[in-house]
Symmetry: C2
Subunit: 201 residues, 2 copies
């Protein structure tokens, strides 16, 4: 139930602003209201739903200010996590990261696919830091962004540029150039954020 509703939200099958009622969801997914309530609680915490006054939940509208804040946070936290990871990077990890980049160059990927692979690429590096709390937070912020990028073709337009940045980052990591790697990641996030905010305004 939770997974089905989340999938529908991720696929954009409910327009932003739509108000969802427990009873209606229960009937739609052929379950009782108990699992619906659980799912709603979880999805509210993940940012896929918001309270709608005292009754009902709504699919959040696109909010450029929210995106701006999330990208600001990512710019501060992801380079930090990457720096902490650098000491533990090795050829195997970097090889796996490159494999993901190769997959990202495939044809027929949806915006959601690209978003997921993009996260897998960075996560692969971040995980080496062995910092579960910081990692979870960064993952949470990434996934909040996916709500926005799933909808539009922006990620497809920026795909070639993004790939080039990924390869440049990978090279810096291979060389062990921490300052360059941090700067490249920061710019990578900044550009994606600015493009998304421009698109929303």
């Amino acid at each position: 139930m939770y997974h089905k509703l989340k999938a529908d939200l991720q696929a954009g099958r409910f327009a932003p602003g739509t108000v969802l009622k427990q009873k209606a969801l229960a009937e739609h997914y052929q379950v009782s209201r108990i699992p619906v309530r659980d799912a709603i609680l979880r999805l509210k915490n993940e940012g896929w739903l918001t309270d709608h006054g005292k009754c009902g939940v709504a699919v959040p509208e696109f909010d450029a200010n929210e995106v701006e804040d999330i990208y600001l946070m990512r710019m501060r936290l992801e380079p930090l996590l990457q720096e902490l990871a650098m000491a533990n990077l090795n050829a195997e990890i970097l090889g796996r990261a490159e494999d993901i980049l190769i997959k990202m160059a495939s044809d027929g990927l949806t915006a959601a696919d690209i978003g997921e692979l993009n996260w897998q690429f960075h996560a692969c590096i971040f995980r080496a830091a062995a910092r579960p709390t910081l990692f979870s937070m960064v993952e949470h912020l990434h996934r909040q962004c996916q709500r926005y990028i799933g909808y539009q073709s922006l990620s497809l337009n920026y795909q070639s540029r993004s790939q080039a940045e990924h390869h440049a980052l990978l090279n810096a990591l291979r060389k062990g150039d921490a300052a360059l790697a941090s700067q490249l990641l920061s710019e990578h996030i900044s550009e994606a954020g600015q493009a998304l905010v421009r698109f929303l305004r």
Copy 2:
């Protein structure tokens, strides 16, 4: 129910590591398991409970690594938010912040009281940034820390030093010295974090 369980967790009435079962909680609080489930879901997201295998939830053990990560994040995010707030600060806001500092000097405050007032002081400034998403995140990180500071007398030992730092910060904000205010806040967080990590190890 949610509020009662949270209060008990905040007051440290369940030792870290304790495993809690829905049925036991339901009987203890004289409610059915449905509100217990809701409360558990919410408290897991707030960091007051964690999953315990496939069955039950546990009161999390104290984890110095988690604290270290949270303070690292706070050091990156709070100065950012404060900088964004500075343009909108005025005498009224700064006056309210000072009022809170005066309350913090009262006698007979518990560690939890001081923690709450400490947050109110900074929140009062942060709110001026009018950045709800960033603010929520910073608030979330603050409240995660309260789980640790509620337990021990550390906050009481650092109270006078902390107050001095608060006043220095307030002065920098009054003067509009952004660089100094950021630096003071960063150090303020860093010192509190280091003290807490030292205590836990």
